[in-house]
Amino acid sequence: MSILKTEKVTFEYIRHDEEGNVEGTITAVNDVSLDIEQGQFIAILGHNGSGKSTLAKHINAILTPSKGTVWVDGMDTSEDEKIWEIRQTAGMVFQNPDNQIIGQVVEEDVGFGPENMGIPTEEIWQRVEESLRAVGMYQYRKHSPNNLSGGQKQRVSIAGVLAMHPKCIVLDEPTAMLDPNGRKEVIRAVRALNDVEGVTVILITHYMEEIIHADNVFVMDGGKVAMQGTPREIFSQVERLKELRLDVPQVTLLAYELQKQGVPLPNGILTTEEFADALERVKKGSSTNGN
């Protein structure tokens, strides 16, 4: 069954000039239709201003579409009475780690969601422990969030969402403000969530190396879905990605440059290993040809 389905979703907002007159409307999301299966790891890519964050906020019913419909686990997000159930089903992690932690102690922050849901005290403790263990932050449960690194703070935020037992987690550029170590930590935690807990993950990012393990990738541009496919399919279109202000991993770019020079390498190489294997085959091929 699909956990998230959007049909022709458009989101417009009105821009005002200094006197408050309507200057025009801006279409941030334009006619987007998606269908995402329970348990998948989805990546949404796009440059800044491509509409990916606006789309993400629709999944958690922070925004509702101007046109079209969003269903989360079969629930229409424009129905007001469903809003809390939707937010519980599709949790959300934001970009700035400082601006989403409410508690002054790690465990209290993780308990915030369940408290809002009216979960009995004993079960809150159980959920907090499970969630903190799942992201590897259990030993920090008594710490103040102010003393944690960026990566640790984001893992606490993920635990805070996990404690609400969602079916789906949307992460809106969770690594944009982190250093490489923090980024690795967070991505590892996110992957574990998907593999071990079976939670559907929707990861929004502009770091290409973070999407290699995704089941499906959507690339957004100008509010529309510009590309869609497996990471390999996406990465094989280097020129198109560059047009969309994106990047490919260096190894993919290297393979692409060599291809252009006539070296017969396959499309969409993602890892160092793959590259070396492919190059070995090329070498063998050319030496047999030479014979």
Partner: protein, 282 residues
């Protein structure tokens, strides 16, 4: 015109049980016109280091000389140093405050006590250098896109016409294209004006293509200080301290392991492609 650091130490919270040595016996020579990358993970001391260079932080011990003169001397004018060594902080767009772009860029030169004409000329010059068109001069800085805001903030420091420009993580939070654009602009600036540039980053991939020299910081110490090629040769040590060489370095290493004779020089995609082609043809 150079900055020299001699046995510089900095200790946070001295005399408390929580004292942390943020800089540990740092010795550096920063000559004119170099493009230097300062690399290190969070907490390695790289941000502390650059704040010493324009006197925002004072060393616990050791000496820093600007053009041969100790900046801790009694008669040294700290304000002058700050105008000559410009520092662009992380997320510099968070310091914008004026009603329009142009006035904001004027803030720095105005503080130097220059005439109105001179101030405006410098502001225009700086905005031009970062690629902000005149049509945006009288817009509110808060209405610009993230990348534009950042350029305006960089122009705000450039307008003071420093000899040395330090940028702390200038690409943080930008998308890949925005990152490349800013780095390219900094490179152009450096080649055209001969400015000394220190680029603080935690990403090897970003700086490898642009800089002449890399200083790797770890636990408050200078771990490596050399041309990129030589620094990346220490892949193992870099990884031990939580840093990584550019992915190309790993590719080339793997190829060498499998018997390809690709040499050890390549640190960028372009160089690597050339080396591999040469190897395949041989």
């Amino acid at each position: 015109m150079a900055i020299e650091l001699e046995h510089v130490n900095f200790i946070y919270g001295e005399d408390t049980p929580l004292a942390v040595k943020a800089l540990d016996d740092v010795n550096l020579m920063i000559p004119d016109g170099q493009f230097i990358g300062i690399i290190g993970h969070t907490g390695s001391g790289k941000s502390t280091l650059v704040q010493h260079l324009n006197g925002l932080m004072k060393a616990t011990s050791g000496d820093i000389r600007y053009n041969g003169e100790s900046i801790y001397g009694k008669d040294f004018e700290m304000r002058k140093l700050r105008s000559k060594v410009g520092l662009v902080f992380q997320y510099p767009e968070h310091q914008l405050f004026e009603i329009d772009v142009f006035s904001d860029v004027c803030f720095g030169p105005k503080n130097l006590g220059l005439s109105k004409e001179e101030v405006e000329e410098r502001a225009k010059d700086a905005l031009q250098k970062v690629g902000i068109p005149e049509t945006m001069y009288y817009q509110s800085p808060f209405e610009l896109s993230g990348g534009q805001k950042r350029r305006v903030a960089i122009a705000g420091v450039l307008a003071m016409q420093p000899d040395v420009l330090i940028l702390d993580e200038p690409t943080a939070g930008l998308d890949p294209k925005g990152r490349d654009e800013i780095l390219q602009q900094i490179k152009t600036l450096q080649t055209e004006t001969g400015l000394t540039i220190l680029l603080v980053s935690h990403s090897m991939d970003d700086v490898a293509e642009y800089v002449d020299r890399i200083i790797v910081m770890n636990a408050g110490k200078v771990m490596f200080d050399d041309v990129p090629k030589s620094v990346f040769a220490h892949v193992k040590e870099l990884e031990e301290v939580g840093l990584a060489a550019p992915q190309v370095t790993y590719v080339m290493q793997e190829l060498r392991k499998r018997g390809f004779e690709v040499g050890e020089d390549a640190t960028t995609v372009e160089e690597a492609a050339k080396a591999i082609l040469r190897c395949l043809k041989a």
